[in-house]
Every structure is written in C-alpha cells, then in structure tokens.
Symmetry: C2
Subunit: 177 residues, 2 copies
C-alpha cells in the first residue's frame, strides 16, 4: 500500500459559521464507533457545555475531553496570563499527540490562540508537520492562519449564510450549547 494513502490527516475547520467544533465532535463520534480513541483539548472556556460533556462521559473509555480554558475567556486583557494558559494547553496537546494513545486529537479553538499570538504559529506548524504518521489532528476556530492552511490536508470553511440570533431567536439548549 502506498504510504501516502496511510497518512493521518491534518484537518482544519474554520470560518465564521456554525459547525466547526460540532463537525469535529461528529468526527469523534464516527471514530468512536470504530472503537478508536479520541482526545479533544479545549483552548477556550465555554466552547463546550454540559451536553457534550455528558455525551462524552457515555463514551468515557475511548473519549477523553480536556477543558483547559477554564478560568479564562480571552476577554481578560491580561495578555501575559492568557499566553501562559494557551502555552500550557499547547504543551498538553503536544503530549497527547506524541502519546500514541489516540487515533484523533482535536485542538478545539486553537486557531483563536494563534490569532491572538498567544502561540507561535511556526512552533505549531513545525510540530504538526512531524506528528505521528497515523494520527489525525483536527484544528478548529475561525481565522485559521495561512501557515496552518498550508500544512493542512483537509480544510473546510464553515460559512454563515443565515443565523437565527440575528432575527432575535435565543440560543437553543441541545443545539447551540
């Protein structure tokens, strides 16, 4: 078999629309169906909620969900602290990526950390280029930097065509959070 065909993918879900994290969650769900192990690391507090956490628990043997953004929301204006949290989260991601335990590692909302320069895009790019061959890595968040798109295999832009919040409908439990 061609080596290229066995390559684990670098997948990016970006854009201003819904479905970036949700599609990653769907991919996780799909992989769990094959009894693959999946790890999702959350860079930002509040990007997931109890719905996902409860669902994840039902898959607890193979689905590891790590909310690292706890305690900070990117609104603190404390750049030093935010950078520290983002970098600590990235250190954990690297550990998970190198662990050999997972089929998929999701770096949820990492694009935001890159966007704010809390992480060095070249560090992330160079590390991901040398990731274990069989592992799929999914990066989510709007404004994926060009350097990340450059090294990615599969990039999807989720584009907002119509959004209910704009016409005054509130967020829906089980849909939006």
């Amino acid at each position: 078999m061609n080596k290229k065909n066995k390559k684990g993918l670098i997948i990016v879900n970006t854009g201003d629309g819904k479905g970036k994290t949700t599609a990653a969650l769907g991919t996780a769900f799909r992989a769990l169906g094959y009894d693959y192990k999946v790890c999702m690391v959350q860079f930002i507090k509040g990007s997931w909620n109890y719905g996902e956490l409860d669902a994840a628990k039902k898959f607890s043997d193979n689905f590891e969900l790590i909310p690292m953004g706890e305690g900070f929301t990117w609104n603190t204006k404390d750049k030093e602290r935010d950078t520290m949290v983002a970098q600590r989260t990235w250190e954990l991601c690297k550990e998970k990526i190198l662990s050999g335990k997972y089929k998929i590692v999701v770096l949820d909302e990492i694009n935001i950390a890159l966007r704010y320069n809390y992480l060095d895009v070249h560090d992330v790019m160079n590390f991901l280029k040398k990731k274990p061959q069989d592992l799929h890595v999914i990066l989510t968040g709007r404004n994926a930097p060009p350097e990340i798109i450059e090294i990615a295999d599969l990039v999807t832009e989720m584009k907002e065509i119509k959004h209910p919040f704009k016409s005054g409908v509130k967020a829906q439990k089980g849909i939006e959070y």
Copy 2:
C-alpha cells in the same frame, strides 16, 4: 418567555465541503448528552457507514438511525424507482416529525432528492413551515434549494478550501467513512 425564543429551528448544512452530515451527527451527539431523542433518516445509501451505525447503537435508547436509501444510489437512471424511494423516505420523515418523540430529526441528504426533483420542494417547504414548534429539523446535502434556505433559521455552507483526495490521499477509515 417570548414564544419566538422557544422555537425549534430549521437548520440547513449545505455546500460542497466536508462536514454537512458530520456536523449534524455532532449536533445529535450534543443533544443525546441532554438525553434528548434524535432521529436521523438517510435519503442516500452510503452517506453513512459502519462507524456511525456502531456509535449510534451505543446510544440506542435515544438515537434512532434509519437508512432508507438502501438498494439505490442515485445512479440507477431509473427515475421512477428513485422518485418512489425518495417519496417513501419523505413519508417516513413526516411521520417522525409529527410523532412528538424527538427533539431533533435529521433529514440526511434530502437536498439531493430535492435537487433531482424526486421530491417537490413546495411540499417539503409547506410541511416544514408547520412542523411542531419545539422540534429542530436539520436538512443536509449540497445545493440546498432557495425555497429551503428561505424557510430555514440557520444555514451554514461548508465550503471546500483544500481536500486530500485531490492530492492522491485515499479516504480514511474513521474520518471519511
């Protein structure tokens, strides 16, 4: 509470990119975390695979997955038979939507059936406009007709920016199927 705020949404995942069905699956996963009941009806054979089916079984109490496209792939050129299957599938969707059993009903790849005129878009539009108020309905598939976008609350276009198949990488188990 404002009635408008309690409204179940009509959600459309369209576009040529990945993640339309996968995001619906992620939304299902999210809702199942809240112990909501979810039904997904599949209009096209092969749009889901064993991964999803196995994962779905683990949620069997609350997740109903109905593959209706079995035995036909939209390539038969037998328009009469395809129309019959699509319409039978739509009848089932209507039944599920009206049943009151679910929080979310996913009409997977229905946009394809509409695109080929196997279903009448005005029938679908008029029915969905009168759907039970609390129910969320998700329609997936590329080329969502303007009539469906018109009645939808939330429309996301999944746009392909970069795709590995184009550079010769084969579909990945647990990622693509």
